[in-house]
């Protein structure tokens, strides 16, 4: 039912009869038709793979499968079921932990690196390429390498700890669900190494757009290095800082591949690195027995709402500065 309605609404071109296509009105229709002709491929793809799935996700979250095929309405049943699933809360807690840790580590580091690189007069291209190189690697390559480093028996990282006479760690497989768990920090380290290049280069570009006169004026007024950073560098890049803060939170809330590859498809010890998107995947495709699209859709809607409320609220709070 719903698919027909959605399709009809988004079908771009009205279908006028051929004989209408004369006179000024007809010319207009014909112009429009050919313009829609250029649009039709993209509009169909958006309809099938973006607009329709959005509607379908909401519909599916209120449906359940019946024996023998087909779907029936389920009311809030799916939502109530996932709210009673302890893994649901665990996954949200882990995702928030990842997002916060990624903010602490992954948000400040690229900015500091960009400020530092912007001051250097040599090896600029080399350093820039260096920082961005890991972003280009296939995530499985980078993460399997980190899984190898993290290995508690023959991994490099434990070897470094042993050389420094520090206690060794199980890294991603370290049990424990404290708020800053070793397992999650390990995931964040790998994720930051993989992804920080993009933000760094964007900050660098923003830093290069700061007019040099501002720094000169500040220096004449006797402003020291840190007060120049505080009163010029940060305010001048504020817009980008705010934009990237939002994009990074939205991106890290969808963490999947990092934890999935590092823990070999599981969610760590006692699900301590299980993320919300991983749980969607497990509900829908990896649970024992029949795939459970109902729970997965309900969880998808919850995540969609959380992200929409977050980005809407964020844009609203920062609207004056933006």
């Amino acid at each position: 039912m719903a698919d027909v309605a959605t399709l009809r609404r988004s079908k771009p071109a009205p279908r006028p009869a051929r004989q209408l296509a004369t006179g000024p009105f007809g010319r207009k229709v014909r112009r429009n038709l050919s313009a829609h002709g250029f649009l039709v491929g993209a509009v169909l793809c958006f309809t099938f793979f973006s607009w329709y799935p959005i509607a379908r996700e909401i519909i599916m979250s209120f449906q359940k499968a019946v024996l023998g095929g087909g779907y029936t309405w389920a009311g809030w049943e799916n939502y109530i079921r996932i709210f009673h699933d302890p893994t649901f809360w665990q996954a949200w807690r882990n995702t928030l932990e990842f997002t916060l840790l990624a903010l602490v580590i992954g948000y400040a580091v690229p900015f500091c690196v960009a400020v530092l690189l912007n001051e250097l007069r040599h090896a600029k291209g080399y350093l820039r390429a260096l920082v961005y190189l890991p972003v280009m690697l296939p995530p499985a390559s980078a993460l399997l390498l980190f899984a190898y480093f993290y290995n508690p028996q023959y991994g490099l990282f434990d070897d470094i700890l042993r050389a420094l006479h520090l206690p060794t760690s199980q890294w991603v497989f370290q049990p424990g669900t404290g708020f800053v768990s070793t397992a999650m920090v390990s995931v964040v380290i790998a994720a930051t190494w993989m992804n920080m290049g993009g933000a760094t280069l964007i900050y660098l570009a923003a830093l290069q757009n700061i007019p040099g006169e501002l720094y000169e004026a500040a220096e004449l007024d006797g402003a020291g290095l840190f007060s120049r950073i505080r009163h010029i560098t940060i305010p001048q890049t504020k817009l980008i800082l705010i934009m990237l803060l939002m994009l990074q939170v939205v991106a890290t809330m969808q963490m999947f591949v990092e934890s999935f590859v590092l823990t070999n498809g599981g969610g760590g010890v006692g699900n301590n690195t299980q993320s919300v998107v991983m749980l969607i995947y497990q509900y829908a495709f990896a649970m024992s027995g029949a795939s459970n699209y109902d729970s997965a859709s309900a969880l998808g809607v919850v995540l969609m709402l959380v992200l929409a409320v977050f980005s809407g609220g964020f844009l609203w709070v920062t609207r004056e500065r933006g």
Binding site: H36, R121, F149
Partner: protein, 311 residues
């Protein structure tokens, strides 16, 4: 002309020459004796630390693929292969069928690129220059999808692909399952439309007076001018498919002969294959992207710093 100039400049802007812009610390300060020494120390430190942090892991990625299985899982790990086993690479290449995985990935990436270029360029051209009725509504609806990240939609997308509404076609396991959804990329349309908007209307009108059709105008005027932005869109289109994990895992998983991408194929093998083979395979998977990066470095960095910021 002015509008076009800014549009083109926005994409291919080069950095001002070194030293010509004033940054946090003035050149005068650096040229003093103490400044010079401090700068030298910091520069050396930065180069050494960054090389260690970013090239270091890559060194192990390539070097550990040369170890034998025993050496790869030895405690403590060796810092360099004591006995070279180049055959590890050969074994990984054969066991994981890297040639096939690589071919699949290339096929998906370039196919997706072709679909994106054809449909997204045509749509952006229509929205920007032909301005059909309801065009703004369609554009707004496309932009609205940026608010809803694709990972949230994997389940309904999967169900839709498994049984396309009305047509009742199952695309699971076909390359189209990757190609067609990649077209629904609002960011591409946004970047392209913004660039097309900066092409002056007089160009188009002049061509119309000469009797050029709309397709001809797109091909002979719009596309040649838009080369920089098309470069940016293409690079990011390829990289997106190359790096994607969750979607290919869902739609191309578990066929024989394999239809998986490099990412998924190597991950799948990692559970059952020796550590040194996995590292060698990961290294081989990284080589094409590293080469691609070194060639297109300039476009990638320009694209990031111009259109990389969404919104």
């Amino acid at each position: 002309m002015a509008g076009l100039g800014t549009g083109a400049a926005r994409v291919s802007r080069r950095r001002p020459a070194t030293g010509s812009t004033r940054t946090l610390i003035s050149s005068a300060q650096l040229n003093r004796r103490r400044g010079k020494i401090t700068y030298r120390i910091i520069l050396t430190l930065v180069i050494v630390v960054f090389t260690l942090v970013f090239i270091g892991p890559l060194y192990f990625l390539f070097a550990d693929g040369l170890k034998s299985t025993q050496e790869a899982i030895a405690t403590p790990p060796t810092l360099y292969p004591h006995h070279l086993h180049p055959s590890t690479y050969k074994a990984a290449f054969d066991r994981l069928d890297i040639a096939r995985l690589l071919w699949n990935t290339l096929y998906y990436a370039f196919g997706a690129l072709a679909f994106q270029l054809i449909f997204d360029v045509a749509a952006a051209y229509s929205l920007s220059k032909l301005r059909p009725a309801l065009g703004n509504v369609i554009f707004f609806m496309m932009l609205a999808t940026l608010m809803i990240p694709s990972t949230v939609l994997v389940v309904p997308q999967y169900v839709t692909i498994a049984d396309l509404p009305i047509l009742h076609i199952n695309l699971i396991g076909t390359p189209e399952a990757i190609w067609l959804p990649s077209v629904a990329n609002a960011f591409n349309i946004f970047l392209l439309k913004r660039f097309f908007d900066s092409i002056p209307a007089e160009f188009i009108e002049a061509a119309q007076i000469d009797g050029a059709s709309r397709l001809r105008i797109l091909r002979s005027i719009v596309l040649p001018i838009s080369r920089p932005i098309i470069g940016v869109v293409s690079v990011f289109g390829l990289v997106a498919v190359w790096k994607d994990f969750l979607w290919p895992l869902l739609v191309e998983y578990g066929y024989s002969p394999t239809r998986e991408t490099l990412n998924v194929g190597i991950w799948q093998a990692s559970g059952t294959t020796e550590q040194n083979l996995i590292i060698a395979a990961s290294a081989m998977a990284a080589v094409p992207t590293i080469i691609f990066f070194l060639i297109f470095q300039r476009n990638i960095i320009a694209g990031l710093t111009s259109g990389g910021i969404r919104g």
